[in-house]
């Protein structure tokens, strides 16, 4: 017994060592960078949530990116016939897993990162890709903290928290709401929009913030915040968190007889929102970048997507698709897979066609306009309400 057990232990260790060292690309003394290869497929890293509660969105993103890769490869690839390949890693909305997956992608020889959904898990990945000299095109994560670090290699093709807040304010002014309650779920992304919206509303002065508060994610009973909202009695409640809690809060607000309007931010734009919220979700507004459903002329694209993956595209499918196309374009322009050259190429891009419109990055490496629109839930699905133009 004992011997067997010990051998098992030994084998485990041996296997661990072997597995971690196999596929090695050289130790400390070996040198030899895996980057800058001039043949073989060009790898794009995509660190997205594959497990955890945001996993469905991760799948939409992966499919969107894969669709672009398939199209580019069918057209003969880039840089004289080299194919693109997607290296997918899981972040599970957890910073530690994000870091592990980012490192794995760097080791796998990725030249551009086209992932990033949860801001909290994306933030600690920035220094890793920066050190490795890998440009990041972030399709979804949009916390202002990502911009504030002013890293040269970070490009965001989703609107930022600030831009989303501006869109919210535009809509508030357009509809003539005078009192607004802001509720976040105490995550990095959500709090960012809450704080930013409160700031912009106050600067603007046409409406007042009746309440700005946070709830704890993952609970069932939100009677405390419902009470606060009923007491403040605002004309609009703006929920800036994710859909699970959003659905519950909408449901509980409606049950309590809340008569005002409700608006949610892009993290809550998910088919499950109205499932959880029930009938109360009808007429809820959302600030969101365009989804395939709401973009005119995207029917062909949606058909392709459905043919490829057997299901309809969802949130951030288009952004991920565009991220891959943008990466391919930048590599082609740079004429190499060298990180610095790709970054220069990305900065130089002007008028590249994307779902959100022609692209030119601001000096902060964000979109000049967030492309946010207002959606509204009708019969359980989000439809375009106002394009804010």
């Amino acid at each position: 017994m004992r011997i067997k057990r010990h051998s098992t232990v030994l084998i485990t260790i041996a296997a661990a060592v072997l597995l971690t060292t196999s596929g090695c690309s050289g130790g400390l003394l070996g040198g030899g960078e895996s980057e800058g290869e001039s043949a073989g497929p060009i790898k794009l890293a995509m660190v997205i949530p594959i497990s955890g509660s945001s996993a469905p969105t991760g799948k939409y993103m992966e499919n969107g990116a894969q669709l672009a890769i398939n199209e580019i490869n069918e057209d003969g690839g880039i840089l004289d016939g080299r194919e693109l390949e997607l290296v997918v890693g899981d972040e599970a909305c957890d910073p530690q897993q994000g870091v592990a997956s980012a490192n794995k992608a760097v080791s796998a020889g990725a030249v551009v990162s086209v992932g990033g959904y949860c801001s909290g898990a994306t933030l600690p990945q920035l220094p890793i890709f920066e050190k490795a000299g890998i440009p990041m095109i972030i399709p979804a994560a949009n916390s202002q903290d990502l911009v504030n670090q002013k890293l040269k290699n970070v490009f965001m093709i989703n609107g930022t928290g600030k831009q989303q807040s501006t869109a919210a304010l535009d809509f508030i002014k357009k509809q003539g709401f005078t009192t607004v309650a802001l509720v976040d779920d105490n995550t990095s992304y959500s709090k960012d929009i809450n704080v930013e919206t409160a700031k912009q509303i106050e600067e603007d002065g046409s409406a007042t913030v009746a309440l700005s508060t946070s709830v704890t994610a993952g609970e069932s009973d939100y009677s405390a915040v419902v009470r606060d909202i009923m007491n403040a009695n605002p004309e609009l409640v703006y929920w800036t968190g994710y859909y699970q809690e959003g659905g519950l809060i909408i449901n509980q607000l409606k049950k309590a007889g809340f008569a005002g309007q409700i608006m949610v931010a892009d993290g809550s734009v998910d088919p499950s929102l109205s499932e959880i919220a029930g009938a109360g979700a009808e007429g809820v507004y959302a600030t969101m970048t365009q989804t395939p459903d709401t973009i005119e002329g995207a029917e062909d694209w949606i058909a392709n997507y459905e043919e490829e993956f057997g299901s309809a595209p969802g949130p951030y499918s288009t952004q991920s698709y565009d991220a891959v196309r943008l990466a391919a374009e930048a590599i082609e322009q740079a004429g190499s897979t060298d990180g610095d050259k790709i970054i220069d190429a990305l900065e130089a891009i002007d008028g590249f066609t994307m779902f959100s419109g022609p692209l030119k990055f601001t000096p902060e490496h964000t979109l000049s306009s967030g492309g946010f629109v207002i959606l509204k839930i009708q019969d359980g699905t989000f439809v375009l309400e106002d394009d804010l133009s």
Partner: protein
């Protein structure tokens, strides 16, 4: 009792090592062999991925050896151990960012803060019964995380990012992944050795006495409250140092890294490896932190597997995977605190 034997359920073997494998595992050189192996790996493979995984694993080993002091030596179930790492990591991050100091110089502050945290959590709760203590520590763990999430000084939900490196002398930056890995390995090796020595010291014997029979220990003149508090404080120090390494390694600290799941994982490493047995705990920590990397596809099922394993180990092998060897004569179990009933004893 020896340093190894956990509970009254553990079968106590008094045989000397009988074959080369057992001799290897019991040998005094084992620690050196493991250290040599840890140092050698980067010379074979030094991709960022491997270095990241190994550094994370080394930090996890440190945590497990710290929790082993509390749970393994002293028998106090701590379900919120990760809070000490949070205190260490946040203190290091805040201080080093505020004063633009290399992380190394934050260690004294971190020590003070973690000892304080150990006192704050330990002092009111250590008079409680063991099962109450478990829940209270869990509560403290959650309080720590939620507080970090709500306060402005800890960066709220985004946490602290852009933490300076551990040390920079001239052009030589200790923050380079390979160098940082070696720093981590040597710190961890030193701390693990210290924990093992601590277990064999006079204080270590007192801890085990308290674990086996608190009332008898009290009767024999051991100040059990003080002894338990010391176990807590030592555990806190180990966690705090782990926090400094964590802050250095990830250059960012966020509340999401200190959820209950993390405390539970460290506990699993200690329990599966063999409570009280430093070597077993190190092995347990390595298995728990490396296994998911090797079996990425099964990531969904790993917590399920860990949960079932915990039950199986407790029911069939309470001494953990690493069979602890007793060199002292077997002691007749002195009767449990709860009288067993028919069907309860097998």
């Amino acid at each position: 009792m020896t340093e190894n034997v956990d509970t009254t359920l553990a079968p106590k073997r008094v045989r000397p090592p009988s074959n080369w494998l057992s001799r290897l595992f019991e040998s005094k050189q084992l620690g050196w062999i493991a250290l040599a192996l840890a140092v050698a790996i980067p010379f074979i493979n030094a991709t960022p991925y491997v270095l990241n995984v190994l550094t994370t694993a080394a930090i996890f080993v440190l945590l497990a050896s710290g929790l082993n002091i509390v749970v393994g030596y002293c028998g106090l179930l701590d379900l919120g151990y990760i809070a000490f790492m949070a205190v260490g990591a946040y203190t290091a991050g805040i201080v080093s960012k505020a004063f633009e100091l290399p992380l190394l110089f934050t260690v004294p502050v971190v020590l003070v803060m973690t000892i304080l945290a150990g006192l704050i959590i330990g002092a009111p709760t250590l008079r409680l019964r063991s099962d109450y203590l478990a829940i209270v520590t869990l509560g403290f763990g959650e309080i720590t995380r939620i507080t970090a999430n709500n306060l402005a000084i800890t960066g709220g939900p985004s946490g602290i990012f852009g933490i300076p490196g551990i040390l920079k002398i001239g052009d030589f930056d200790f923050q380079q992944p390979a160098v940082f890995y070696f720093v981590t390995v040597f710190v961890v090796a030193g701390m693990v050795l210290a924990a093992a020595r601590l277990g064999k010291s006079r204080l270590g014997r007192a801890w085990r006495f308290v674990r086996e029979d608190e009332d008898a220990a009290e009767a024999m003149g051991i100040h059990t409250y003080k002894v338990k508090l010391l176990a807590y404080i030592f555990g806190a120090i180990w966690g705090g140092i782990g926090g400094v390494l964590f802050a250095g390694h990830f250059s960012a600290v966020a509340p999401q890294s200190f959820i209950f799941l993390q405390s539970a994982l460290v506990l699993m490493a200690v329990v599966l490896g063999g409570m009280g047995n430093t070597r077993g705990v190190v092995l347990g920590a390595l298995v728990i932190s490396l296994l998911p990397e090797l079996l990425r596809d099964l990531a969904e099922y790993r917590y399920l597997a860990f949960g079932i394993l915990l039950v199986i180990v407790m029911v069939f092998r309470p001494q953990g995977f690493w069979p602890a060897r007793g060199y002292e004569p077997e002691r007749v179990p002195t009767g449990d605190k709860e009288p067993a009933v028919a069907g309860g004893t097998k």
